[in-house]
């Protein structure tokens, strides 16, 4: 798989609520792959790839925002930060970061105070975010001039290609899915499809799926697919909620996932001999799917996920072939949608 586009997504900022840098990249890529492209009030990208039929549409949503930090207080030459999304604080000390200020990007590192300077009992285990500081190497005066409360802070780690077709980097959650959806749009250029496809790169998923609910309300698709990442097996992660890296996408099963769509995806993957896992999601899925399903008057929804290791750390790992398989599964599903598909979605049997 060509990873240039994915790597450019991973190297770009675009934290929850501040998605402009990554949105610009995707906009540029999707411009030639879609018939219409616009943005919602919240900044989600909506790309329409028209089908040959009339009226029916499927929305494929991949959130483009990433977790990170935001400056909450400036103390002399150091910065205090709050989290944007559910960041894994255990891995923060020692990380290289970029502080995005109005005066340009500044390189920094996350420092933790020595144990004897922390309040009693706080030095055991992971040090709470409120005690961590960011050092950008500037004097207090320079910091006061250049950095403001509300400046975002993203990981500086560049994506790394590893052996065995693996790629490591921050923000694979969920830029891996954006890459899969983009690949799907590319494949659809030479495929016939009846249904309209709304490709959506949603905002603010990591802080409560604000983009998904508003985009679905605006687009009003007949069915919706949320593509996200799930937990791959790894050190200490071996239970039923985890999937082998490189074993294909997972197809969601449970409340948020419409049983008919689940069945259709499963049969399609079997027919195409695409390996897949079944992800049991008994309650909320923790993805855009939760909000897509209950938008407007309700939308039959399914969650398709790509397994990654070390979620919400700067070194998330994905098998690139899983991204390709996800793209292919999405393409074939879109191509399969016929004029009568909607009538087949019934609750009787």
């Amino acid at each position: 798989m060509k990873t240039d586009f994915l790597k450019s997504l991973l190297s770009s900022s675009g934290l929850s609520g501040f998605e402009i840098p990554v949105a610009e990249l995707i906009k540029e890529k999707w411009a030639s792959l879609t018939d219409e492209l616009d943005q919602s009030a919240l900044g989600s990208l909506h790309g329409l790839k028209r089908g040959s039929g009339k009226g029916h549409s499927v929305m494929i949503a991949t959130h483009m925002d990433a977790i990170g930090l935001i400056v909450s207080k400036v103390s002399g030459e150091f910065l205090h930060v709050a989290n944007l999304g559910g960041i894994d604080i255990r891995v923060l000390p020692g990380q290289a970061v970029i502080v995005h200020s109005e005066r340009g990007d500044l390189s920094g590192i996350i420092a933790q105070p020595p144990a004897h300077l922390l309040p009693e009992g706080e030095a055991k285990g992971a040090v709470a975010l409120k005690h961590l500081l960011i050092d950008v190497g500037l004097s207090a005066r320079q910091v006061a001039r250049k950095i403001k409360i509300g400046d975002t802070v993203s990981f500086a780690t560049e994506p790394t290609e590893m052996s065995g077709g693996l790629l490591a980097g921050h923000s694979l959650d969920n830029r891996a899915s954006v890459a899969a959806l983009t690949l799907c749009l590319e494949e659809l250029q030479s495929r016939d499809h009846i249904w309209d496809v709304w490709a959506a790169a949603t905002v603010q998923e990591e802080i409560g799926h604000m983009g998904a609910s508003t985009s679905a309300f605006q687009i009003r698709p007949d069915i919706a697919i949320a593509v996200n990442v799930t937990f791959a097996k790894g050190p200490g992660a071996t239970n039923w909620e985890t999937f082998e890296l490189g074993s294909g996408p997972t197809i969601g099963l449970g409340a948020v996932n419409h049983p008919f769509l689940h069945q259709q995806f499963k049969e399609l993957a079997e027919k195409l001999e695409i390996p897949f896992g079944i992800e049991i999601l008994p309650g909320r899925s923790g993805t855009d799917g939760d909000d897509l399903q209950i938008s407007v008057e309700g939308i039959p929804t399914i969650v398709i996920s790509i397994p990654i290791r070390y979620m919400h750390t700067p070194v998330e790992v994905v098998a690139t072939k899983d991204i390709q398989r996800t793209a292919r599964l999405l393409t074939e599903f879109v191509a399969m949608l016929d004029a009568d598909f909607l009538e087949k979605i019934v609750w009787d049997d």
Partner: protein, 330 residues
């Protein structure tokens, strides 16, 4: 504006029981709106102006309160909270029921060895002076609010329900002073904010604004050993960038900051790790809106005595007028 703040903070109207405060506000604004309506959840919606951008300015009018869940055999009224209370500020507080009865909050476990521990709310009770359910002036379902008079300390003001009646006062004053606007502005006094932001959900869906602004109070970081937060009392209007449940639209933040700087209105940048506002509901109503928040810094939030700085209050009015008067370019 001080007499208005006094009148609003001395009105008793907890979440879900906003009739009294709605009446007071309606009386204050009726001559300054082009159109007034009340929606299904009791939100008071007043429109002013037309054309330009469709803007919703929300200030919740409810306050935190207590609701009786049973009266025990000795006549003590046990209660559930309407909204979030800090247990350590509640013991000893006086409450007034909507039916006019008064009471004082007491707690179990006030023995010597446990005195230093905080009692949880379910170990507290309201003593209304009753000795049995029979002679109790209150019964299951009766609602009370904190009872504390307004005090003017000069530059600083204290009262119960400064959260969010001080913002209600700001909205009323803005409506009075705003001679003309180039926009279709909806001033919305929302209900049930303290019980998970409910009134704003429906009023925003009904209005479908392009821009939403919530006016609320925000906790500060300027008291001894307080949270690591930059916002202080008296240092200006707080322009919200983020709270735990909402990230303000960067375009709105820039618009507000530029307007404040141009008009020489002191402001503070706010990244909050506690609480949220109506803005989070307006943001995701329908197809969504660009939202932001303007906060009035406030000490001792959700206690019976909340403190604000009068300069901050007046500056909030100034900023709102500056924002609404002119054409908006985002």
């Amino acid at each position: 504006m001080k007499p208005l703040i006094k009148k609003l903070t001395e009105t008793f109207s907890p979440s879900g029981y906003e009739n009294a405060i709605r009446e007071v506000i309606t009386d204050e604004i009726k001559d300054f709106a082009d159109e007034i309506r009340v929606d299904a959840l009791g939100n008071l919606i007043a429109r002013k102006g037309s054309g330009g951008k469709k803007i919703m300015i929300a200030a919740h009018m409810d306050e935190i309160g207590l609701i009786v869940n049973h009266v025990d055999e000795k006549g003590f009224a046990r209660f559930s909270p309407l909204g979030t209370f800090l247990p350590h500020t509640l013991v000893g507080a006086r409450v007034r029921f909507l039916n006019g009865a008064y009471g004082v909050v007491g707690a179990e476990y006030l023995k010597k060895e446990t005195q230093t521990k905080l009692a949880p709310l379910d170990k507290m009770f309201i003593d209304t002076g009753a000795t049995s359910p029979k002679d109790s002036p209150v019964k299951i379902g009766d609602v009370a609010a904190l009872e504390r008079p307004f005090h003017d300390l000069g530059k600083r003001l204290i009262a119960k329900s400064m959260d969010n009646r001080v913002s209600v006062a700001v909205l009323i004053e803005t409506m009075r002073k705003l001679k003309t606007t180039a926009h279709e502005v909806y001033f919305v006094f929302t209900t049930q904010e303290e019980v998970q932001v409910r009134g704003a959900i429906t009023s925003a869906f009904g209005i479908a604004p392009e821009i939403g602004i919530a006016i609320d109070i925000c906790p500060v970081g300027d008291t001894p050993d307080s949270a690591k937060k930059e916002v202080s009392l008296g240092k200006g209007v707080s322009i919200k960038i983020k709270d735990p449940l909402m990230i303000a639209d960067p375009r709105i933040v820039t618009w507000m900051i530029k307007a404040a700087e141009k008009a020489n209105i002191p402001y503070q940048r706010e990244v909050s790790t506690l609480g949220s506002t109506d803005a989070r509901a307006i943001q995701v109503a329908g197809a969504g809106a660009m939202v932001g928040g303007i906060s009035i810094p406030c000490r001792y939030v959700h206690s019976p005595s909340e403190m604000v700085d009068y300069d901050d209050v007046q500056n909030t009015v100034k900023l709102l007028i500056t924002l609404l008067e002119k054409k908006i370019e985002l």
